[in-house]
Symmetry: C2
Amino acid sequence: MSSSQMLKGILDGCLLGIIHKGETYGYEMIEKLEIYGFRMVSEGSIYPVLMRLQKDGFVHSVMKESPSGPKRKYYTLTPAGEEEYEQFKERWESLSHSVNRLVKEEN
Amino acid sequence: MSSSQMLKGILDGCLLGIIHKGETYGYEMIEKLEIYGFRMVSEGSIYPVLMRLQKDGFVHSVMKESPSGPKRKYYTLTPAGEEEYEQFKERWESLSHSVNRLVKEEN
DNA sequence: CATGCTATCTTGTATTACAAAGTAGCAGTT
DNA sequence: AACTGCTACTTTGTAATACAAGATAGCATG
């Protein structure tokens, strides 16, 4: 039972959420996740997720020049991605309420 | 991205929580999970978890007669199990706050 | 030209939820 | 007695997926 196991099935929804807030690229998403409090989400975790999201038609990507450094792959949500994000939020609401009822219940 | 993936790393903590509330057995835990709102957590999910928890020394089990039906394996938390449950709650707090910041943030 | 930061991708591994199937006890009905 | 359905636990195989580790490469600064 580790923290990383708890991320399963949540990470992809969180990435949809971050892209939903505005076009962004992989490397920057890692920094944003850290700001939200996610500890040590590594590149090896998110790049495969981004590719899966694209394969499933939830995101669209464009290569753009960086003002300094290598090119960046910027992601945006497709309509299907917006819909998927809405569904993720509902699933998260349901799950987190269940866990909180259990964990915070007095007795 | 399915609901079942979101359970990963959470189910074992929830089982610790249910046992923490009082001695109980596998079949009954499934019913209790349903009451808390967990949808369709099947036997094939929880029995392997219970065996892992026992192997790791977090729970102790005793076979007892049922007033009707086959014998039941009743579980209780060991001190290490109580400690593990406390740590799970902290990890859950941290993770759920991070996700909620992301998901509920206005922008 | 060497170092370090930025940026992406790939491979292999470990974890784990779950479907499916099996075993078996007991109660009530036919 | 045989059948049906509920209770109760176990095992096997599969699919999903987070992540470590490593590879590749552009750019800037000293």
